[in-house]
């Protein structure tokens, strides 16, 4: 964060090289965790010990492997390492497939926001004047409204489902990108290289996308790293509330919700363990995002 730069700035001049990325400086633990989770999600059918949808009521509420005592629970040899849920489905397999859904939602929804928000922000920043005023007022309103309430409302009336969730979250997320890109464009457009490009007769779209956009990339990357985990949690929350993905989709939020119903009868693993999976995923992305923010953009974006 600003911390490091502020401290070092006082003692020694920051050389440009200091900000360059070195292999040794990368946040390896979170990168490795994230890569393994992505791999697990991609190769889910090969890795997961069971079909996540496979039900066996006789195997209901098998305990996770470290809680197996005597005849209670089922031996992990059967591959139910993290136990089973109320329908006898393997929890580990469901978490593995759930990671798939989370990652899918995270990346597709953020891509949608990016695709909508970036051009809008470019136009607002470049045209300025009235266009800018109208767009920014819309951005303000969108940002002021609680995303989850909008998403809940839309999904309640439109019906739920994975792709609807992705679309709604994606569309609602445009405003941050529009604001970010606009802000950067306002700074960039005053610089000499833009004036030169304009003087040379470069078409406006070309100026925007070829000349200005690359200068905004760092800020965008930081915003994406903040948004992906946020969106993943949003989907999980919507599904937890019963208005997200359909009940047959192995969503981590949905699994926690199902387990929650059995919490008071002593069956904790069906809700707690999927949450652990979700948290590790989000945590690793957030740690990576923190590092990105420190490295790429220590001044512009706080908090």
């Amino acid at each position: 964060m600003a911390s490091v730069s502020a401290q070092t700035a006082a003692q020694q001049p920051v050389s440009p090289r200091k900000r360059a990325i070195h292999w040794g400086n990368l946040p390896w633990p979170s990168i490795l965790v994230l890569i393994s989770l992505v791999m697990v999600a991609i190769f889910a059918p090969l890795i997961s010990p069971h079909n996540p949808r496979e039900q066996d009521i006789l195997l209901q509420f098998a305990r996770p492997f470290w809680r197996i005592t005597g005849t209670a629970g089922f031996p992990p040899e059967a591959g139910y390492w993290l136990g089973t849920d109320d329908l006898g489905r393997d929890i580990l397999s469901n978490i593995i497939y759930g990671l798939r859904i989370s990652l899918l939602v995270g990346f597709v929804a953020v891509t949608i926001s990016l695709v909508i928000g970036t051009p809008v922000g470019l136009i607002a920043g470049f045209r300025r004047g009235r266009t800018d005023d109208i767009i920014m007022r819309l951005v303000d309103i969108q940002l002021a409204l609680p995303t989850i309430l909008i998403a809940l409302g839309v999904l309640a009336v439109w019906g739920s489902g994975l792709w609807k969730v992705i679309l709604v979250i994606g569309i609602v997320g445009w405003a941050n990108y529009a604001r970010l890109v606009r802000g950067s464009v306002l700074i960039e457009r005053e610089k000499d290289y833009v004036t030169s490009a304009q003087a040379l007769g470069t078409a406006v779209p070309r100026t925007l996308f070829v000349h200005i956009l690359p200068n905004v990339l760092n800020a965008l990357l930081v915003q994406i790293s903040v948004d992906v985990p946020r969106v993943i949690l949003l989907e999980a929350t919507l599904s937890f509330l019963g208005l997200g993905v359909s009940i047959t989709t192995p969503s981590l939020g949905l699994m926690v919700a199902r387990g929650y119903e059995r919490l008071f009868s002593g069956v904790w693993w069906t809700s707690v363990l999927p949450g652990v999976g979700l948290m590790i995923l989000v945590l690793s992305i957030n740690l990576l995002g923190d590092w990105l923010r420190d490295t790429l953009d220590p001044r512009k974006l706080n908090a």
Partner: protein, 305 residues
């Protein structure tokens, strides 16, 4: 100051109108509540009667006009299900939600601000790193899952605290903390970076160089300035607290308005959803106004333009 306030008030009214209209339009796209309300064996004629009694047979612009007229009078119709005034139902549950949010906000501020200052004063040290890692965990933990963990540990296992309702002050601890956790982490990060920004500014150096104690510089001079961005963020956090309260109220069976509106969403109970939207929009507009004014009071450089 007064022109500023009038301008801001006008903007607030405009924002409320936009939000409310958007919700109205959204609900029209949503589908016919008669389909939800009417039993399957209802005849066509009975359905029409029902539609008429709820005013749903009128053309859209009439419905909208009537909606706006009633809105100004604070009347948003009768809940399709409980047959009571919708605004009344939502308002009745509003205090419970507000109390939960305020408790969570108080917890978040009393813990988050000192932790953030503490981290900033020790920037770069092991304490800073530890706090930083903990705050990343705090913002990464899904609220609903945290709530469940709390229930599991403190209600089911230890049986220390109640897990549903809001009858006594003990009932506030688990839901309040569940809702606060993310914000504690968030404020810690926020205050830390804000403090560090301020600590690197010239007036702090001046303060130090004229021999003021480090304590005075940090806690009196720097801290006050570091609070300015925090106020805006607190205002913005209100929206996120309200959203978070949806989850918290669901998990802890909290009798607040979010749980009411969630049920209304399942049931397409339009008047309730609209009343909720109006209240939320008013809250937001009001809070933004307060934040703007506070901003000016704390930082005299901000001019009311």
């Amino acid at each position: 100051m007064s022109t500023f306030l009038i301008k801001r008030l006008f903007q607030a009214v405009l924002a409320v109108w936009i939000v409310v209209t958007l919700v109205f339009v959204l609900l029209q796209v949503a589908g016919n509540p008669i389909d939800v309300l009417a039993p399957d064996d209802m005849t066509q004629l009975q359905r029409q009667d029902l539609a008429r009694s709820l005013g749903l047979d009128q053309p859209l612009h009439i419905q909208y006009g009537r909606f706006l007229t009633n809105l100004v009078q604070g009347d948003l119709g009768i809940s399709y299900f409980s047959r009571q005034p919708a605004m009344g139902l939502v308002l009745e549950r509003f205090p419970a939600t507000l109390r939960l949010i305020l408790v969570a906000l108080a917890m978040a501020l009393t813990l988050g601000i000192p932790l953030g200052v503490w981290a900033a004063v020790n920037a770069g040290g092991p304490l800073d790193s530890a706090l930083r890692f903990m705050s990343v965990i705090g913002i990464s933990a899904p609220t609903f899952w945290i709530g469940i963990l709390f229930i599991l540990v403190f209600s089911v296992q230890l049986e220390w605290l109640p897990s549903s309702g809001n009858a006594s002050w003990q009932h506030y601890i688990l839901p309040g903390f569940t809702l606060a956790l993310y914000r504690i982490a968030f404020f810690t990060r926020m205050v830390r970076s804000s403090m560090l920004d301020v600590l690197s500014q010239d007036f702090v150096r001046t303060g130090r160089s004229k021999g003021l104690s480090e304590r005075l510089v940090t806690y009196k001079h720097a801290f006050r300035n570091a609070l300015v961005p925090v106020i805006t963020i607190v205002g913005l956090q209100f929206g996120s607290l309200l959203s978070g309260a949806v989850v918290t109220e669901t998990i802890f069976a909290w009798p607040g308005m979010n749980r009411l509106v969630l049920t209304a969403m399942y049931n397409l109970d339009y008047p309730i959803i609209l009343s909720f939207a109006v209240i939320v929009a008013l809250l937001f507009a009001g809070i933004n106004l307060i934040v703007d004014v506070l901003y000016g009071l704390i930082d005299p450089r901000v001019r009311y333009g």
